[in-house]
Symmetry: C2
Subunit: 211 residues, 2 copies
């Protein structure tokens, strides 16, 4: 049975219930761990579920920062140093990944607090997550303030990609399901995936077929 | 075996290969159909894989429009009329959903071309997708031009939500997996999901448990 919620119904919900409800409606999300370090070598790790593709030439990726103190540590480090890492989450580390959303004080690193390990690669300042299977080194490019509420959008350029060699198809497609990357819904629900299929490039006078 | 791609390696890729590669790296995406109509009652339907949560109070949702003619029909209709619908995609309609990305001329509706059905709800201008299980009526609020490339970010406010009554938990969580909502990766790979678990709200001195 279909039901309907109007804008008025939504605004009359209890605040936490509304946050959970609205966060669920955007579909399955791209969830990742963002690793940063400040100028005094203090590391930070935080989970974000708002990764979005911005462009391939040059390779640009964006994410939303909510006006929230836990996420502000990540933002401050990015603005202070210009670099961050984006690390895919797999089923082996999803609890630790979720735990990074706890409001730790700035002097406690979520790496140490959750047991995830820092990893460094040549010529890159920010810490990667050792246990992640697909990881990107990103250079900060642009900060956009959304005037409609207090959210901030951060765009960065991909500098380095580390991933398993055998997950890359000849056409450039990366089989992230094969590497164990998971997705999330709402604020706290984690899901593995099962491929239905890839579909051929869509053209007006044909119908897509499985490739 | 881990492998590494530098920025230089990425920029030296063939253009189509790079687009497929970079689109894969952002993780599993929130994929949906956006339904619009222009002032002369011509409908349009287009698939987008960049839905992102912006806020719950008020309920705001955003998506990226690429500088691409197929997507411009959606953008033009939104700017002309102020309204659009966001419709979740399920396994029964993923081929039709993918097919909406073909470059149909503006006078051909992707509803008619793909066999998906328009549905109208009271007091809302734009067409919903009858075959979708979770659908949002959205009012346009803000257009942001990302100066770094030619992409555009559209923010809208959720006015109406239609969904199955039995998928809503008492705490506001919507079980979108139970409704059949799917996710995608790269430009053309579609996936169902399997829930690992929901986790409790993270606090510094405890470890998250399944809820």
């Amino acid at each position: 049975m279909q039901t309907h919620f109007s804008y008025k119904n939504i605004m009359e919900m209890e605040q936490r219930q509304r946050a959970v409800f609205i966060n669920s409606l955007g579909g399955f999300k791209s969830v990742c761990l963002i690793g940063t370090k400040n100028k005094t070598e203090q590391t930070n790790l935080a989970i974000f579920n708002s990764l979005v593709h911005i462009g391939a030439n040059p390779p640009l990726i964006g994410f939303v920062v909510r006006p929230d103190s836990a996420e502000r540590h990540t933002l401050n480090n990015i603005l202070e140093t210009g670099f961050y890492t984006i690390n895919h989450i797999n089923e082996n580390i999803y609890k630790q990944a979720h735990q990074t959303s706890a409001r730790y004080p700035v002097e406690i690193s979520e790496f140490a607090a959750t047991g995830l390990n820092e990893q460094y690669h040549p010529n890159f300042f920010s810490p990667y997550v050792l246990e992640s299977h697909i990881k990107l080194g990103v250079a900060f490019k642009e900060k956009i303030n959304f005037s409609i509420n207090e959210t901030i959008f951060i765009i960065g350029e991909i500098q380095d990609v580390y991933l398993p060699e055998n997950c890359i198809n000849i056409d450039g497609f990366v089989d992230i399901e094969a590497t164990g990357t998971i997705t999330c819904s709402g604020l706290d629900s984690y899901h593995t995936t099962k491929k239905i299929s890839r579909l051929s490039y869509a053209k007006p006078n044909t119908f897509p077929v499985k490739v």
